[in-house]
């Protein structure tokens, strides 16, 4: 066979085998749980080390925000509607932080199972609408 064609054939075969192997590996990898971002349920299931810094997230539970009047301390509960996680935080909260809003907290677990956050970030959703529309939608629901 033409050596150039032969070289191309070898290259093609190598690429093909490589991509097949890669595809198989990726598919089996995706079936594993690979999140380093924990929901309250995952935190409960996983036996996490207290010192490891992790990110956790979920929705702020309605009526769970307790702000200390004298300091910047705040305690609130984050939920994924299955399990709750109590969060302690000292610092200024972002504007979008509110009940029923998504948050991401970074910090580590305390020995009592609560979470000590060193950073709180508010997540905002992809829904944009004028105030009137938002009001209407709220009345609907």
């Amino acid at each position: 066979m033409n050596p150039i064609r032969k070289q191309r054939l070898y290259a093609l075969v190598a690429i093909l085998i490589g991509s097949l192997l890669a595809t198989w590996l990726v598919i089996s990898a995706l079936s594993e749980n690979m999140n380093l971002f924990y929901s309250p349920t995952e935190i409960k299931v996983a036996q996490l080390n207290e010192n490891t810094l992790i990110r956790a997230g979920g929705m702020v539970k309605t009526g769970s925000i307790i702000k200390d009047t004298n300091s910047l301390n705040v305690v609130f509960t984050v939920t994924d509607y299955q399990n709750d996680l109590k969060i302690n935080y000292e610092g200024i909260l972002p504007d979008l932080f509110a009940e029923n809003a998504g948050v991401v907290v970074r910090g580590n677990l305390n020995t009592d199972g609560s979470f000590k956050a060193i950073e709180v970030l508010a997540k905002h959703d992809e829904n944009y609408m004028p105030p009137e529309v938002a009001k209407l939608m709220q009345e609907d629901s």
Partner: protein, 224 residues
């Protein structure tokens, strides 16, 4: 034809390993560099055990990445200068297989020593013993990919400054860094880390043929 491919491969491996052993700096330099960088972290951050063990995955991986890119420029530069690189393209064997031999040698003289030194690094950074195996596995896959990537960088920057080849491939090493550290961090948190290893394996599976072929293209540019 098949036997002649293996002949060419074994000749390159034998020749280059012989040369590497006669010039011990080739495999000692990355090793020492790796250990020095790792040592700097406790010096700079303070010796608290909890802090260091939580930073260990990142520290080990950053040091490994930099160390494996340290000698990347030498993969082809000497062969290009003394004319032995010409043989890659004169012989009738597929050149990308010969490039793969060069990558293998680079891994043997940088990746393997780093792998060996990583155990020392893990001890001085208080990484728990349970995480040693995941660390070694992630470094095995990751440094191999870095050698492949480095070879392409070296081919593209052949004859240019030594640091250029490292700089142009650094942005592409991000997945390796993230996956590698995730493996160790997951094992620290008693989590399953096999998924990350599989992704690293997938990158390697695609990288071996893909990057070797692109490296051939890049090397040919230097003859124009």
């Amino acid at each position: 034809m098949h036997s002649s491919i293996f002949d060419s491969l074994s000749i390159i491996l034998k020749r280059d390993l012989m040369i590497a052993f006669r010039r011990s700096s080739t495999y000692i330099t990355p090793l020492i560099f790796f250990l020095i960088v790792v040592t700097f972290f406790p010096l700079a951050l303070g010796p608290q055990e909890s802090l260091l063990s939580s930073l260990a995955p990142g520290v080990i991986w950053i040091a490994a990445l930099l160390a494996s890119l340290l000698a990347v420029e030498t993969i082809f530069s000497e062969d290009f200068r003394d004319g032995t690189l010409d043989d890659f393209f004169i012989s009738l064997e597929p050149s990308f297989i010969l490039v793969f031999a060069k990558v293998t040698i680079h891994w043997l003289i940088t990746g393997l020593p780093i792998l060996a030194a990583s155990s020392i690094a893990a001890i001085i950074l208080y990484l728990p013993l349970d995480s040693f195996i995941p660390m070694l596995l992630s470094l095995l896959l990751g440094t191999s990919f870095m050698s492949l990537l480095g070879a392409l960088g070296a081919a593209l920057a052949l004859g240019k400054s030594a640091i250029l080849s490292a700089i142009i491939v650094l942005p592409f090493s991000v997945p390796t860094l993230l996956m590698g550290t995730s493996v160790i961090t997951s094992s620290l948190n008693n989590q399953d880390f096999s998924g990350f290893l599989m992704i690293m394996g997938a990158m390697l599976a695609l990288g071996i043929p893909g990057l070797c072929l692109l490296t051939v293209e890049a090397l040919l540019l230097n003859y124009e």
